[in-house]
Amino acid sequence: MSQQPEHLQKTALNEAHRRAGAKMVDFSGWEMPLHYGSQVDEHHAVRQKAGMFDVSHMVVSYLVGVDSTRYLSGLLANDVARLEDPGKALYSCMLNGQGGVIDDLIVYWMGGDRYRIVTNAATRVNDMAWMQRQLSGFSAVLTEKPGVAMVAVQGPNARAAVLGWLSDASREIVESLDRFFAADVEEGFIARTGYTGEDGFEVMVPQYEVEGFWQTMVDAGVEPCGLGARDTLRLEAGMMLYGADMTEETTPLESGLSWTVALEPEQREFVGSEALFRQKIDGVPRKLVGLLLDGRGVMRSHQKLFVADREVGEVTSGGFSPTLKRTIALARIQADVEGDCEVEIRGKRTPVAIGRPLFVRNGKAV
């Protein structure tokens, strides 16, 4: 096999991945594990027991300052006013003036005027430039936090594994976290969030401590998982992937993300809000749906969809669902299409059922 190019960035767990026999790939300039042998086995581990993902390539930023809430209120399509309790997380898109999605992110309110923001690795440079530009005129400071490693531990046994690693004092705090809440404890920053449709934690620790944490999780029976399983897990859970299911060319309303857009109160203006209101009035032309195919074959991104001879859209993310043992996809189609359509797989059209973009939650088919 050819060597990976030298210029790829490495996370603090790179050596641990290699020792575990990971197949490493270039993911947005980072050398990351695709799988450690079988991505299907890793997928099942998360649904049935517990698995963990090195997500240290993601970007963690700190926001602080008297205007930080007002700034985020104008920056994000979701409304930070919904963050009523410290530690609460909010998922949101960050839009351009046309309502297109620059990135999706999670913002945690840490109390007072302090926030933490986690954004995608692929959009790092663009995001940071955009967020800094929008800061002008606000009294707040946004800085990327260096030296942080992040591991997502997910699955029905994930909580117990992470709780077992904590000191008694920390455990008491973390054990009481509701879903979508986070806390700072002596070991690090721990959030009950994830990208798999399972319960679990995302754990941020200093880079120099992450190998120890990783090994403790391995000893507790948590399976190392790569990007391959991460993608099929989020696909089953109907969670959108930036760059595939939404881009700068699509609005959240066309991406199955209306629930993350706070159009009320109407007096709150945010970047892209005007475009979204206009789209709402004119009618949203396309929608994001789930596709489930009963036959063989695998739906993959960019495959075209048809109703009779009319091309009605395309697959934005597709793959094989290890839980359902058949192929599932997210697709963007014209808003008027209901019921069935045909997907063109390798030159052949096959009927496929259109449904909700959600297939599996908490280990069960939905």
Binding site: M1, L34, H35, S38, Q39, V40, G228, T232, R296, G297, V298, G319, F320, R346
Partner: protein
């Protein structure tokens, strides 16, 4: 390094071929299954199908991509491994046991065109 048993013959398109007096058993190599990743569907040829050299005779679909299977030799399909329909992962777990189809060769001398283990090893290495 992937496993390449002695005693089998190999094609440049990563099939292994086990000859038994002009009837051959064919599967994909360990190297091929490693490149493909988890295999989720195998589409088999039909018994009785006549194939030319390099004729399309099935599909192996993995989490990563769909790959056509090409006949490494000319002949007639005499048997297919239907167990792979329900458990395609056998190809990952035991690539040299999970055969895909058997064919009766049109011209057994064609076997000489194939690679031996050493020849295939250097091909796989170069990739």
């Amino acid at each position: 390094m992937s496993e390449i048993p002695q005693g089998l013959r190999y094609s440049k398109s990563h099939e292994w071929i086990d000859d038994d007096a002009g009837t051959v058993t064919i599967g994909i190599t360990d190297h091929a299954q490693e490149l493909l990743g988890d295999i989720v569907f195998v589409e088999l040829p039909e018994v009785g199908q006549q194939l030319d050299l390099d004729g399309e005779c099935g599909v192996v679909e993995s989490v990563k991509a769909a790959s056509d299977i090409y006949a490494p030799l000319a002949g007639e399909i005499v048997e297919v491994n239907e167990a792979l329909m329900d458990s395609p992962e056998q190809v990952n777990d035991a690539p040299y046991e999970a055969w895909i189809f058997k064919m009766r060769l049109k011209n057994p001398a064609d076997l000489d065109q194939l690679l031996d283990a050493a020849g295939y090893a250097s091909l796989a290495e170069a990739e």
